[in-house]
């Protein structure tokens, strides 16, 4: 088999659909008799609903239904756990009582003939609240609720190995520094949206989601239906970054209202609702205590983490997930504390844990490098780990050292004078910083169907699974992998995704979907090729016994040929015509791996090298250059892969310099809950990026050798920038984001 497609930079197969508007997103489906639901959000951040007056709203033009806790239908108990196959965003069913847990919580849904009517009527719902005894929206206001959370994804968040304290106390060099990161929000471009519609006892839902099977599980539980009676459709998702993994209240309420009205209900969250009611990344406060020898060997590390969660539920942003394994530190301890705030339950956001954790750890390492007068890359090399000390298993494939080497080389790192403020340029100070990127290898499992058929237009294949393309390039990747495996041109393969009628597939999260689906697609293709050889063996001259010697044949451009004599070949169309059906179909699946198996620990890694230009007079920081090198196993689709890395790095620039969801501590509402107030990078903030990868397959992980790439890009970037800012200015900002006021103050 000649490899031509895998690893090549093919264009997105759905690119044209996207730029011409032909790609349909959840809220764009047009159904007859559509109605529009608008949610009313609580202006109180705690307490109870004393009275809710819907009389005026009900009488407003076009209004069909007003749901509140007084008349909302009773819903079944919904699963709330990844492992249960679906996650309700919050365990408390929406509108189930008069309790207010956070500002913005939905207190009513108004459904009307048009969006404008629903929106106006929603403004007429009058709610009276009784104030709660206490409420808090900042960690420092909630110290009385401090507690230690349970395990996260089966792993303890507080543990010790070795004796960190003893080693720390006797260390030659000690560092004790505290870092903090603010509440952040994924802010996917497409707002969360649902269209729900019933016919008889079947529920069809067009949903902006990253997990159609998860939605199916949750909604079938909520409405007491068999899963096959719930059909979730989501051909395209306009970004999510974790925020569309759980089935949210608006989806459940749209389905409830549609059942009652016997008409489809469309509900799109407003941008403020997205920011207030869809789970964010918790703020973190992280204390690092590190002891080291003079020559840079880290002998002790303690990582203390404080994060927040909501009043009744738990989501611990697992910030120690990378400090516990990235470096070779035998005496290590981590502790995790949480407090309860009157906010929506925090949730997954791109690289949950690694993002804030790597900011703090990699900043601390930079500080340590200065203490030791050691090059920060050398310090990392000195503490490089070859086994994962949390599992005591070797890494299956680890090329981090090569990432450092190549990154340093491409960046020109050897020319760096470590002295802060050593690179002035006119009004500006230039600074160089670096940091390590890391992310586990997850594979959550998928079943993939491949069908090869022939009709008047020729031979073509369809690859399908229920997984979603959330903008990452799943369509392109599966098309490419299938075309490669079957020996067909790209345009002869179609991928079908985002439909719960298709085969079981995990959530598009944890950077796992390519690793889960690509090997399954390849395996299904192998089976089809075997069938093709069987057909050839039975029927075609010169192919006798072919299926017993599969290696002697090549599959190329829709034909099976002898490897020794490619001129002797036969077309798939001819072979399919010999089959009793005009098609061949096969299914294959992958089994879950959560970061490690019995033999290996699976991790991706990388290195970022960043240049910033700071105008010290006004505290302005601009990232002027980034070189990033990644080790993520084999890269299948070069162009969409590069976009994933790039998107992650852009996220990292946002986290470093501007992102922060700010709450009013007197009243509990976020004060910047829209895209003019919650800043994410714009084009002008983003420099050219030099992104490359090592491209060493990890066959211990799966048969195709690829690990995920969706999240690793963000990890380490904020630290590399903070470190570069220190190098430029001599100022260490230990609290993200690094804004002009902080640079002026320190």
């Amino acid at each position: 088999m000649t490899t031509t497609l895998i690893g090549s930079p093919v264009n997105r197969v759905d690119g044209r659909k996207k730029v011409t508007g032909a790609a349909q997103y959840a809220s764009e489906f047009v159904l007859g008799e559509m109605t529009h639901g608008v949610l009313v959000s609580s202006s109180a951040a705690g307490g109870k609903i004393r009275n809710i007056d819907t009389a005026e709203a009900k009488q407003a033009p076009g209004v069909l239904l007003v749901l509140t806790h007084k008349n909302a239908p009773h819903l079944g108990k919904m699963p709330n756990d990844m492992m249960a196959g679906g996650v309700a965003a919050e365990a408390r069913p929406p509108l189930s009582d008069d309790q207010i847990l956070h500002n913005g919580q939905y207190v009513a849904m108004v459904v009307a003939e048009t969006l404008e009517q629903a929106r106006y009527a929603a403004s007429l719902v009058k709610v009276d609240y009784t104030k709660g005894e206490r409420f808090a929206v900042a960690i420092e206001d909630a110290e009385d609720t401090r507690y230690k959370p349970g395990d996260f994804m089966g792993q303890p968040l507080t543990f010790e190995r070795g004796h960190w304290k003893k080693e720390f106390e006797k260390a030659d060099v000690r560092l004790d520094a505290t870092y903090s990161t603010p509440t952040e929000h994924p802010c996917a471009l497409e707002p969360h949206a649902t269209i729900a519609s019933w016919s008889d006892d079947t529920l069809t839902v067009y949903n902006a989601t990253q997990w159609v099977k998860g939605d199916q599980t949750v909604l079938s539980a909520a409405f007491d239906l068999k899963p096959e009676k719930v059909h979730i459709i989501c051909p395209f998702t306009g970004g999510m970054f974790g925020s569309k993994g759980a089935t949210a209240a608006h989806t459940i309420l749209a389905a409830a209202a549609a059942r009652q009205l016997k008409r489809p209900v469309k509900c799109i969250l407003t941008r403020p609702q997205v920011l207030t009611d869809v789970g964010h990344r918790s703020e973190t406060i992280q204390r690092f205590q590190i002891g080291a020898t003079r020559d840079g060997k880290i002998t002790a590390m303690r990582h203390h983490v404080t994060t927040h969660t909501s009043l009744k539920e738990e989501f611990p942003e697992p910030a120690s997930i990378s400090s516990r394994m990235l470096y070779n530190i035998e005496n290590y301890a981590t502790e995790h504390d949480m407090v309860r705030l009157n906010v929506v339950k925090p949730s997954w956001m791109r690289a949950p844990g690694e993002m804030p954790g790597q900011y703090a750890q990699e900043s601390a390492l930079d500080e340590l490098a200065y203490e030791l007068a050691m090059d920060p890359v050398d310090l990392r090399r000195r503490n490089h780990a070859t086994i994962d000390l949390t599992t005591n298993k070797p890494f299956s494939s680890n090329h981090l050292l090569e990432c450092y080497d190549r990154g340093a080389e491409r960046f020109g790192w050897s020319a760096r004078n470590p002295l802060p403020r050593s690179m002035p340029d006119g009004n500006e100070l230039i600074g160089w910083g670096m940091a390590t990127a890391t992310y586990p290898g997850y594979l959550m499992g998928a079943a993939v169907n491949v069908r090869l058929e022939s009709d008047s237009s020729g031979v073509h294949a369809t690859v399908s699974t229920a997984g979603t393309d959330v903008g990452t390039g799943m369509y392109t990747m599966l098309t490419l992998v299938t075309a490669e495996a079957l020996g067909l041109p790209l345009e002869r393969v179609t991928a079908k995704l985002g439909d719960s009628d298709l085969l079981q597939c995990a959530v598009a999260g944890g950077s796992n979907l390519t690793a889960s689906t690509a090997p399954a697609a390849t395996d299904a293709c192998t089976e089809i090729k075997h069938e093709l050889l069987k057909l050839a063996a039975d029927a075609a001259d010169g192919f006798t016994g072919a299926h017993k010697h599969a290696n002697e044949f090549i599959f190329n451009n829709g034909r099976v040929a002898h490897r020794s004599d490619p001129a002797r070949s036969i077309g798939y169309a001819e072979l399919l015509s010999l089959n009793k059906h005009p098609f061949l179909e096969a299914q294959a699946q992958t089994k879950p791996i959560f970061g490690h198996n019995d033999e290996y620990s699976f991790h991706s890694s990388g290195a970022h090298f960043v240049e910033v230009r700071v105008t010290p007079a006004i505290g302005r920081v601009r990232v002027s250059r980034i070189v990033s090198v990644f080790d993520c196993g084999r890269i299948l689709s070069a162009k969409t892969a590069r976009s994933q890395f790039m998107g992650g790095i852009v996220f990292g620039i946002g986290a470093a310099l501007m992102e922060e969801l700010t709450y009013d501590r007197a009243h509990g509402q976020p004060v910047n809950a829209d895209l003019a107030g919650y800043l994410v990078p714009v084009h002008a903030d983003i420099p050219e990026m030099d992104i490359s990868w090592i491209d060493e397959p990890d066959y211990n992980f799966n048969s195709i050798g690829c690990r995920g790439i969706g999240e690793i890009g963000i990890t380490g970037v904020p630290a590399a920038i903070a470190n570069a800012v220190y190098h430029a200015t001599g100022k260490r900002v230990r609290d993200l984001p690094i804004t002009p006021d902080k640079l002026l103050a320190t």
């Binding site: 106006y120 006004i618 084009h683 002009p740």
Partner: protein
């Protein structure tokens, strides 16, 4: 959003007449402020009078200056050759504002009357004297990092968010208006905005249904040597933490005339006569600029989260003057 009536005005008199009927009528230009606030239920007009078809879309060069129609879009004004050459501070200020898409919609008249971005003003559940006189001011006790340090009162500390207006204040622009009986007024921009005082709901000297028709930029040789510098939390598409519009005239090393206005720090686009006095007659060098910055910010009053703006505004002004002096003319 509340239901409303929509009227398209064909001539100025009809527009003024339509807007004069009923207390709840407003002019509608680019809509980038108005529709935004209507969606938030902050503005709930009963009638929109569309002024986009009125004949105020040209930029006319006259002997005594330039007459800009109220409907001229921010992007057209920013890229106009004469503006770029003779009033660079205005072009730079416009291009530092909002995004390309917004600038294509935003009108000159609308920009003058854009409302504050104060988060409590934009949230109908918060106490806000500007939105609802007498209800209080949640910003004073709340998150006020973006708020004003100059011209504030115990009733309101909201920042005037415009960039364009800061340049116009530095250029002594004059606002031309027309009223219901056909009377016309010419209002110097430095007298156009009202400090919040005890009535933050009153933002300008305009009467109800008074239509802005033009903005006049007086001929001003000094304006050729002018500059706008804006400091913000991201590189583009964000309001100012602090900004400075500066114009200088020098003779040898001595400053003979200066014009200084500040943005992002005042409850109105902030002209600093104090800074101008500190510059005039002095050598064009850093110590002079720093003295001017100290003078400009002397009356500043910080809130909980925005004390940094005092130092930042000073440095922004100094850097703006330095950058201007570094240019060749």
């Amino acid at each position: 959003m509340h239901p409303f009536e929509y009227v398209e005005a064909t001539d100025p008199a009809a527009a003024i007449h339509a807007a004069g009927e009923g207390a709840q009528s407003v002019f509608f230009a680019g809509g980038t402020t108005l529709i935004d606030l209507m969606k938030l239920d902050v503005m709930t007009p009963a009638k929109l009078v569309d002024v986009n078809h009125l004949p105020f879309s040209s930029i006319e060069e006259q002997p005594d200056g330039i007459l800009i129609g109220a409907n001229v879009r921010n992007s057209d004004l920013a890229h106009h050759a004469t503006i770029r050459e003779q009033y660079p501070v205005l072009s730079e200020a416009l291009l530092a504002g909002a995004s390309a898409q917004l600038r294509n919609m935003a009108s000159t008249g609308g920009n003058l009357l854009q409302r504050t971005r104060c988060t409590y003003f934009r949230d109908i559940n918060s106490a806000c004297n500007k939105r609802q006189p007498g209800s209080g001011c949640d910003a004073i006790t709340g998150v006020n990092r973006m708020h004003a340090i100059l011209g504030t009162s115990d009733y309101c500390i909201a920042t005037h968010p415009s960039d364009m207006c800061v340049a116009l204040v530095a250029l002594d622009a004059v606002i031309h208006t027309q009223m219901h009986n056909g009377t016309k007024r010419q209002i110097p921009i430095t007298e156009f905005y009202l400090l919040p005082g005890e009535t933050p709901e009153r933002e300008t000297v305009l009467n109800r249904a008074e239509l802005i028709t033009h903005v006049h930029l007086p001929a001003n040789p000094m304006a050729r040597r002018s500059h706008y510098l804006k400091v913000r939390d991201r590189a583009s598409y964000e309001f100012a933490l602090a900004s400075a519009a500066v114009a200088l005239e020098t003779k040898g090393q001595t400053i003979t005339r200066a014009s200084v206005a500040l943005g992002g720090v005042g409850t109105v686009p902030w002209r600093s006569k104090e800074a101008e006095a500190a510059l005039t007659g002095k050598p064009a060098e850093r110590v002079t600029f720093e003295a001017a910055a100290d003078a400009a910010l002397a009356p500043a009053k910080p809130q909980h989260h925005n004390a940094f703006k005092i130092e930042l505004a000073k440095r922004t002004l100094v850097l703006a003057l330095e950058e201007l002096m570094a240019r060749s003319f």
